[in-house]
């Protein structure tokens, strides 16, 4: 087996809120292999975003370690560490600076990480836009002049700017219409293939997961309750929580309905509680 790119080893996170301790993530161990798309699935409060924040180094874990290529990442990340892991957030309207043009937003990571010289950086901004299928003259536009899908493309281009291998995608398509979502997902898969990227894909949408992820980690209340390949999770989910998540997916075809029912007979009688 190949060595993992990213490794979480009994990672926990405890927040102190008003004198009380809240365990957001509870002893999670998870390896992400280079080149795969690992989906992290769960409902609100399951700890998925806390995990993302610990991977990115927004805050350190309360216990356990996060390591990249076998190197334990320190609580205070160096510039090289920050460069190695990039993020695409849910809402591109709030993740892009409205005061900056698209070009300036894409150039910033190149400046910060001192990639190329002045002239090369502008060429590079054009190349990044091309890579996400946006015209090069978008660099002079402001985010307000773009549609939701175009903005998300810019956010993706920014995450690619400094050639990181690992990208954390936090609900990247949840705020988008379904037609736009399909195009963005297609783009992400294309980029992953072309650049050999590794994705940690955080989402609550299991139908998206089914079609783009290689493996799935299901979280409930801060615990990893099920981990497996997409095929395994959708043919034989072993944890009742996973089955209840699948049972709740609104589907559009009778084949899907049949699959749902065959997997979730035990959960037929979930009641309001």
């Amino acid at each position: 087996m190949t060595a993992p790119l990213l490794s979480l080893d009994s990672v926990s996170k405890v927040f102190k809120v008003g004198g009380r301790e809240i365990v957001a993530v509870d002893g999670v161990s998870l390896d992400v292999i280079a080149g795969e798309c690992m989906a992290i699935v769960g409902e609100s409060g399951s700890g998925k975003s806390t995990i993302a924040n610990m991977i990115l180094g927004v805050y350190p874990p309360s216990g356990g370690t996060v390591s990249l290529r076998g190197e334990t990442l320190p609580a205070r990340r160096t510039r090289a560490h920050r460069r190695a892991i990039q993020l695409v957030q849910q809402n591109p309207l709030s993740s892009l600076n409205p005061q900056r043009t698209v070009g300036a937003s894409l150039r910033l990571p190149l400046d910060v990480h001192d990639i190329g010289d002045n002239a090369k950086r502008w060429t590079r901004v054009g190349a990044l836009l091309e890579e996400v299928h946006l015209p090069a003259d978008f660099r002079s536009r402001s985010p307000a002049a773009l549609s939701g899908g175009q903005r998300q493309r810019v956010a993706i281009a920014r995450a690619l700017a400094c050639e990181s291998e690992l990208v954390v995608l936090d609900e990247p398509t949840s705020a988008l219409d379904v037609l736009v979502q399909a195009r963005i997902l297609k783009l992400l898969m294309e980029l992953q293939r072309r650049r050999g990227l590794t994705f940690v894909f955080i989402t609550h949408d299991l139908s998206v997961v089914r079609n783009i992820a290689d493996r799935v980690a299901v979280f409930e209340k801060g615990r990893l309750v099920e981990l497996g390949s997409v095929e395994a999770i959708f043919t034989d989910p072993s944890h009742p929580y996973t089955r209840s998540l699948i049972a709740a997916i609104p589907v559009v075809t009778s084949e899907e309905q049949a699959l749902k029912e065959s997997l979730t007979q035990k959960e037929e009688k979930i009641d309001h509680s």
């Binding site: 037609l179 139908s207 589907v251 559009v252 309001h272």
Partner: protein, 296 residues
């Protein structure tokens, strides 16, 4: 046949501004009969929510809104109502459930106080104790186990799912004949959303309420609605019974929407063409779904 609970015929909406007119609705027709659950499904900006706001009479207050066409509620043309009469309908005969329950409840009042206000719209001189008892009953109907605790709580002390059920209880408190639900449960987790829909379906069936269900999520629509209107850029493009429309989507736009939805049976993400002119093709109406005659 009696007149439908809600009848919208050839509804136009434009906003006039300094930079000219922006056409938002290009003549849409919708009808909902008593006890029917009808969905209006489309993407953001298609005109779903403005339609709801016009039915409620809220957009009429916007001075730049130019509205044309007929809206009849229980056989009565709402354009002929005075603002006062229209106001009296809201919260009593027609009510609304919003997308985000926590932000549509007032954070500085307890649920009990907000509930009293709702009940007073139906029965202006209802006694405080009577109102609280009625509120507790209505909350219990919405599968809320301990209505007393919920009534004495503030919205921020309750979960999103509980707030949503409180909203549903309030919306149905005065036995409306029309319930407008704008993306209910979209802000909630999938399991909570599924429970919310199930609860709404039971309650509206029990009270024979007509529902206009607004959503962008075709899966949710399939689980909830009897009939579906698909709206694209201010035009209805397809209309049919839920089973017919999902088994046999005929309009190019409906097909594109359906194709774009990732399936839990797999199959990858489909190639989606850019917006095509065929999306603007004329409306396709499935068998047996013609709009009713309007009495002159």
């Amino acid at each position: 046949m009696t007149s439908p609970t809600l009848l919208i015929r050839d509804l136009h909406l434009a906003f006039g501004g300094y930079s000219g007119r922006v056409e938002v609705l290009h003549g849409i027709s919708i009808h909902i009969r008593q006890g029917e659950r009808v969905a209006l499904v489309g993407e953001s900006g298609s005109g779903k929510s403005v339609t709801a706001r016009i039915v409620l009479g809220l957009l009429q207050m916007t001075r730049t809104a130019r509205i044309g066409g007929l809206i009849a509620f229980e056989g009565q043309d709402i354009a002929k109502l005075t603002p006062r009469q229209h106001h009296r309908l809201r919260g009593t005969k027609m009510s609304m459930i919003f997308q985000d329950p926590t932000s549509s409840l007032n954070p500085v009042y307890r649920i009990s106080e907000q509930f009293r206000e709702v009940l007073r719209r139906g029965v202006p001189d209802i006694e405080r104790t009577e109102a609280d008892a009625r509120a507790a009953d209505l909350l219990a109907d919405c599968s809320i186990g301990d209505p007393e605790r919920v009534l004495t709580s503030y919205p921020f002390q309750l979960s999103g799912g509980l707030n949503q059920r409180v909203m549903i209880a309030m919306a149905l408190a005065n036995e409306p004949s029309l319930l407008i639900a704008d993306e209910p449960g979209t802000a909630l987790d999938v399991t909570v959303q599924a429970q919310t829909l199930k609860l709404m379906r039971e309650l509206v069936a029990r009270h024979d309420t007509a529902v206009l269900f607004i959503s962008h999520n075709l899966g949710v629509v399939r689980e909830f609605a009897d009939r579906v209107y698909v709206i694209y850029k201010g035009r209805i493009v397809e209309h049919g019974r839920t089973a017919d429309l999902f088994d046999d989507p005929r309009h190019p736009y409906t097909r594109a929407l359906m194709d774009a939805i990732p399936r839990i049976t797999g199959g990858g993400i489909p190639e989606i063409a850019d917006a095509s002119d065929t999306y603007l093709a004329p409306i396709i109406v499935h068998e047996g779904c013609a709009e009713p005659e309007v009495a002159p």
